[in-house]
């Protein structure tokens, strides 16, 4: 099987590139962390990769809206390269801050096929505060990123994660199966006594895709859920496994997303 190559953006305050690279490699992809300025200067090319990943972080400190300034820099310098990358046989993922960047880039067109127009937004959480917790999500999508996934547990950590679109746009998104993940009350919410929707996000939306399903914008962090020991209740589960004389799992649920990306190119 030929390893697909993933490019993970970095610079200006993005900060989850290390663990995102690790997750891709663990799943069997090749992965490079590339500073945005190396693309601007032409030292690196998007076309050398099959997968683009915009990782989490705090690009430009979230100033003027999370993801806005980094998306602006991409538009100023790399827009044509991005637009020619998108229709190819490629996958793109934006995680948390990366999702905010993709939304601000306008890579999720709804009404038209015209990229760049922003028809969705991510607003500040209802609490007005950065929120860190685990969530349960349910897939409703046929996106290659989510193949074989029904529900899973993933952590969130963001201040601006409230999905917003007009009623008309939202209806079209539903119709075109662009809503990828919704927050639900599942295993981890039951364990920790938490409400399903962590931020007040519209329609419980946790992740969206473009109309092809190849571009995934996801607010929770799958790369922080690739080990068993990342689950909040692993010490409890461990006691359960041990007392039933069962071996401990090694992997966490989030790894599947990265494995799906690798399988897509297999």
């Amino acid at each position: 099987m030929k390893k697909p190559k993933a490019m993970i953006f970095s610079g200006y305050g993005l900060n989850c590139e290390g663990e995102t690279k690790y997750a891709f490699e663990l799943a069997g992809a090749g992965a490079d962390i590339v500073h945005i300025n190396d693309l601007v200067d032409g030292r690196k090319k998007l076309s050398s990769y099959q997968i683009l990943a915009f990782p989490g972080g705090f690009a430009y400190g979230d100033d003027t809206g999370a993801g806005n300034a980094y998306a602006g820099k991409l538009k100023n310098h790399l827009w044509e390269e991005i637009v020619s990358f998108v229709p190819g046989n490629h996958l793109i993922i934006g995680i948390c801050n990366g999702c905010q960047i993709l939304v601000n880039l306008g890579l999720f067109p709804v009404s038209s096929k015209q990229y760049e127009e922003r028809e969705a937004a991510l607003l500040q959480n209802d609490s007005g505060r950065y929120t860190v917790r685990w969530t349960d999500v349910k897939s409703e999508s046929s996106s290659p990123w989510l193949a074989g996934i029904d529900t899973m547990m993933l952590p969130i950590a963001h201040g601006e994660g409230k999905f917003y679109a007009t009623d008309r746009v939202l209806a079209t998104m539903r119709e075109k199966k662009m809503i990828a993940l919704r927050y639900i009350h599942g295993e981890i919410c039951a364990y920790q006594g938490l409400p399903a929707n962590p931020t007040g996000t519209l329609d419980d939306i946790a992740a969206i895709t473009d109309q092809t399903g190849k571009i995934l914008g996801i607010m929770p962090h799958p790369e922080r859920a690739i080990f068993f020991t990342q689950l909040p209740h692993w010490p409890y589960l461990k006691e359960q496994y041990v007392r039933r004389n069962m071996p401990l799992p090694k992997e966490g649920p989030g790894l599947k997303i990265f494995q799906n990306a690798v399988a897509y190119f297999a």
């Binding site: 610079g11 200006y12 305050g13 900060n15 989850c16 290390g18 663990e19 690790y22 500073h35 300025n37 190396d38 200067d41 989490g56 705090f58 430009y60 400190g61 979230d62 100033d63 003027t64 809206g65 806005n68 300034a69 602006g72 820099k73 100023n76 310098h77 922003r118 028809e119 969705a120 937004a121 607003l123 500040q124 209802d126 609490s127 007005g128 505060r129 950065y130 929120t131 860190v132 950590a157 409230k162 917003y164 007009t166 920790q192 006594g193 962090h221 922080r224 690739i226 080990f227 020991t229 990342q230 909040p232 209740h233 010490p235 409890y236 461990k238 006691e239 041990v242 007392r243 401990l248």
Partner: protein, 959 residues
């Protein structure tokens, strides 16, 4: 063509920020109908109208925001408007981003006199009087760093908006340096030391914090050279000799201890332990670098450092705490050849936020201290911003309350770093600037911020405390150079040495590295400035944040410069390291400083200190004995020092870097844990265990025992989570008060002695530390009566341990009904009884039981005693417990742990514990009641789990 443009942006759909503010003000009793917030970007640069429209569109989301560069975006009606913006020169991170966005978009760089400034306008509708709206403004802005203007609707209409305000810094270009005559009376010499160098107009520049004997030593040094010092030299000596940098109190002779407390008790303990451990010694770098370092595995070292940022946090809690956490990150980045920050820790010592005491810094009551509620809100938010923006997990921390922290809060911030032992063929933990290396300043630009930070924190907080000592950190700038230096430049071998620019700015970092090479020559005019007009001495000692100093071999400079430019980082050659033996500084061709390196570093006169025993202020409290203590038990769970502070854990990202193993909130009940575990190398199961211990209130009874308990608690907490007791290192942070006072010095000596005794007994070496000696406040109360508040002497011990297999660590929550509850260790009828020898043996036994997988949950006993430890076990598991406790349930005797064990493991567990004090005291129950009985079967505590949980969560529920 317009020179100044005011771009306003308003969120048009569900503005959570405005709603949260509205809710807060309504709950404070203001009669409000509506709040709306507009963000303002004032652009001080000429653009064509078409360009301005495009720039405006960059700053707003078309779907959810509206923006205008031609008119104010106010609601149609409102009662009052308040605009808050920064004072000139205060770090404005959002403005820096906007400036960069505009430059990137237009391709037109901003000139020296051009700039961007941010502010926000809040529009209030409701029946508010002018005095009420003034009170709202006072609640929302901090006059030390911000300006606020208030307008009524009518005035706003008449003026057509809030008006344009440009907080440009305007300074007159000063001469290179002023000569300061020291041929003056001893009285004047003393005032130069305490009040500072006189400006030409007679005002003083702010404290040098040099006492008369230091001033006389300096006078003698320059008399020998037949000249007066310059202001640059004097300010530089003051920085280098400050208590903050030199730790004179810890290093000077005290009573008959000639080598001082640090060498005798702290370093002395480490040396003895390392010798005894021999081949098992895991220390790599102790006390000599920005952090201490121990072995992690065959390939990596881990570093740790804990700092305090107390005085600035009293004045600007948000900026102070933010600067603190981002600053201690640089102690990792500045360790050896550069360690990657992988874990942050925090700890806040505060007065109860419900404390309503009003304090002023001055007699005329024009300089109010912030309320305790605002101090708490600010420090919590500051570490949130610093840790989250930097992408460093912040899992471990604590809150501690005592009304004596009202005058000065203690803000502890720590950072663990990770560094390979060998980088580019060199030992990573050794570094040396070489003669001929360029002195390179990397990171932010230099302004007036943070002038006199080092000398300021070496004094008590009074009305004379300089506002320029307040800074606001910029985590994104730091993240950019951290990525470049730790991620690339280090491994390419592009520099010989690196250190952080912290207290004292360049004057301390360059002088420190000049020791390695044997001298330096600095050209100050090369230092990039935030705005023109700074005096030479200001450039030299400014503590403008987010800067590192590097020693770069000349032939590597081009490569380093290119690399940093790619990362969007400013780097400048500001001089050369030499072997001249002198620290020489020039400014536009004039020599403004020329001092022997030896005098600069070792010239500070030795001072003999004397101590005098201080009687105990209070006696050990009598502990309540068994009777029905349910009510007391429930009220203890809601005490600020015991209750849940989950609101912090829920806003500090502890999952970033993908390394979390044991999280800050554990079990179904999400109880705050004492210890956390992190896996910093994703491909390895090896983990780092962290905890902290402190007992400030014990200082009143016995400072020796206070220190012993702090140390025992920190060690016990991480052993309870699974750390190997044979591989634990410690950090000490002494925060004292009135440290000139012989009684306080006696307490200090007692505490330091306990550090030695217990560290040696446990074999846990100190690897790094920091002290802060003057946590005193003098000011006035609401009636204008003088008030002096000193903190209780506080020693924070931080413990760091390594576990080989993270899957073997233990969380605190009870796992299954039917599991047995054990109390390990002996209970004494007192607060804080402690026996190191028996404890050590017990900790090794517990560790062995944990390694063998025999322990299902584990909670160290500390504040609130065994009753609280059992309650936490139950509350975390959301199961009941039925236990028998023989003696004082709230005794804080050290050396005890509450564990639960599966019944099938009981025999094996007891075998491992043989020879130690342990007792099976009951079991975990399906029935959701916390039931504690004495040996006679009488009920001591009987509470539903629900009530206990309600108490535990009540105190900070609304935070």
């Amino acid at each position: 063509m317009e020179t100044v443009t005011r771009i306003e942006v308003v969120t048009t759909v569900c503005d959570s920020r405005a709603f949260v503010l509205y809710k807060r003000l309504v709950s404070d009793g203001f009669r409000l109908a509506r709040v709306r917030i507009t963000d303002v970007y004032t652009i001080d640069k000429k653009f064509a109208a078409g360009e301005l429209a495009k720039i405006t569109s960059l700053l707003a989301h078309p779907l959810t925001q509206r923006a205008s560069h031609t008119m104010p975006l106010s609601p149609a009606t409102f009662s009052w408007a308040i605009e808050i913006g920064y004072l000139p020169g205060v770090t404005d991170n959002v403005a820096a981003t906007v400036r960069e966005m505009i430059e990137d978009f237009t391709g037109k760089p901003f000139g020296h006199h051009e700039g961007v400034y941010t502010s926000r306008v809040m529009f209030f509708s409701g029946s508010l009087t002018e005095s009420e709206v003034t009170r709202i403004a006072e609640r929302l802005y901090n006059p030390l760093i911000e300006r606020a203007s208030v307008k009524s609707f009518a005035a706003f209409q008449k003026d057509n908006g809030m008006g344009k305000n440009i907080p440009r810094v305007v300074l007159s270009a000063p001469p290179a340096a002023d000569e300061v005559s020291l041929s003056v009376s001893d009285k004047e010499l003393a005032s130069i030391g305490t009040l500072g160098v006189a400006n030409r107009n007679g005002t003083r520049r702010g404290p040098l914090a040099l006492d008369i004997s230091s001033m006389k030593t300096i006078r003698a040094y320059f008399r020998k050279r037949k000249r007066n010092p310059t202001d640059v030299e004097l300010e530089s000596l003051a920085q280098t000799w400050s208590e903050h940098c030199k730790h004179t109190i810890f290093n000077s002779p005290i009573d008959d201890i000639k080598e001082g407390l640090f060498r005798r008790y702290i370093k002395g303990a480490t040396e003895r332990i390392r010798k005894k451990k021999g081949k098992r010694d895991f220390c790599v770098s102790v006390f000599s670098d920005n952090s201490g370092a121990i072995v992690f595995d065959k390939q990596f070292l881990v570093t740790h450092k804990v700092e305090t940022h107390n005085s600035p946090s009293a004045l600007d809690p948000f900026g102070g705490a933010l600067t603190g956490i981002v600053g201690v990150n640089r102690d990792a980045i500045g360790f050896g050849l550069g360690a990657k920050p992988v874990i942050n820790t925090y700890g806040f010592c505060l007065a109860d936020p419900r404390d309503k005491t009003i304090l002023f810094r001055d007699l005329n009551k024009t300089q109010p201290m912030l309320s305790e509620a605002r101090i708490m809100e600010g420090v919590v938010a500051g570490v949130n911003s610093g840790g989250n923006c930097s992408g460093i997990p912040t899992p471990q921390g604590f809150l501690y309350f005592d009304r004596r922290f009202r005058g000065k809060p203690l803000v502890f911030v720590g950072t663990v770093g990770l560094i390979p032992k060998i980088v580019s063929g060199r030992r990573s933990y050794e570094k040396k600037a070489r003669p001929g290396d360029y002195i390179v300043m990397v990171g932010g630009r230099v302004g007036l911020d943070g002038i006199h930070g080092a000398t300021f924190s070496s004094q008590a907080l009074t009305s004379g405390s300089p506002a320029t000592a307040v800074q606001i950190g910029d985590p994104i700038t730091q993240k950019k150079f951290s990525d470049a230096i730790v991620g690339e430049a280090r491994d390419m071998g592009l520099f010989h040495s690196i250190t952080d620019n912290g207290a004292g700015g360049l004057s301390c970092s360059v002088a420190e590295m000049a020791k390695e090479s044997g001298g330096c020559l600095v050209e100050l005019e090369k230092v990039p400035l935030k705005y023109p007009g700074l005096a030479a001495w200001q450039i030299w000692i400014s503590e403008s944040q987010e800067r590192m100093t590097l020693a770069v071999p000349k032939h590597k400079w081009q490569a380093l410069s290119r690399l940093l430019k790619r990362h969007g980082v400013v780097a400048t050659v500001i001089g050369t390291f030499t072997r001249s033996g002198r620290c020489v500084v020039t400014y536009r061709g004039t020599t403004v400083m020329d001092v022997d390196i030896k005098f600069l570093h070792d010239g500070l006169p030795a001072r003999q200190m004397r101590t005098k025993p201080m009687p105990a202020v209070r006696r050990s409290p009598k502990l309540p004995h068994a009777s029905d203590l349910t009510h007391l038990f429930l009220s203890m769970l809601s005490r600020p020092n015991i209750s849940s502070f989950s609101f912090i854990s829920r806003q500090y990202d502890h999952e970033v870097q993908g390394s979390s193993v044991l999280k800050p909130l554990q079990g179904r009940g999400k109880v705050n844990a004492d210890a956390t575990v992190t896996r910093p190398v994703l491909s390895s199961l090896r983990g780092i265990v962290l905890s902290q211990g402190l007992y400030p209130s014990y200082s009143d009874i016995d400072p020796y025992r206070m220190a012993a308990c702090s140390l025992d608690t920190a060690v016990r907490n991480i052993v309870a989570a699974g750390a190997d007791p044979d591989r634990i290192a410690l950090l000490d942070n002494f925060c004292w008060c009135s440290s000139q006072d012989p009684g306080r010095l006696w307490q200090l000596k007692q505490a330091a002695k306990a550090c030695y005794d217990y560290a040696v007994a446990y074999g846990t070496p100190f690897i790094s530390g920091k002290d802060s000696m003057f946590n005193d406040f003098t000011g006035f109360d609401a009636q204008g009566k003088p008030v002096a508040i000193s903190i209780p002497p506080t020693l924070l011990i931080s413990a760091i341990g390594v576990v080989a297999d993270s899957t073997k660590v233990v969380s605190l929550d009870a796992k299954f009904p039917g599991d047995l509850v054990y109390l390990l260790g002996e209970t004494y009828d007192e607060v804080g009884g402690i026996n190191a020898k028996t404890n050590r043996k017990l900790y090794f036994a517990l560790s062995s039981a944990i390694q063998r997988g025999l322990v299902a949950s584990s909670q160290s006993v500390h504040r609130g005693g065994v009753a609280v430890a059992i309650a936490k076990t139950a509350l975390a598991g959301l199961y009941g417990v039925d236990v028998t406790i023989d003696r004082a349930p709230f005794s804080e005797s050290q050396g005890r742990i509450v564990v639960t064990v599966a019944p099938q493991n009981a025999r094996a567990f007891e075998n491992v514990m043989t020879g130690n004090a342990y007792a099976c005291i009951g079991s975990v129950t399906e029935r959701k009641r916390i039931l504690m009985k004495d040996h006679g079967g009488r009920v001591i505590v009987d509470s539903s789990l629900h009530y206990a949980q309600r108490s535990y969560l009540s105190t900070f529920k609304e935070y």
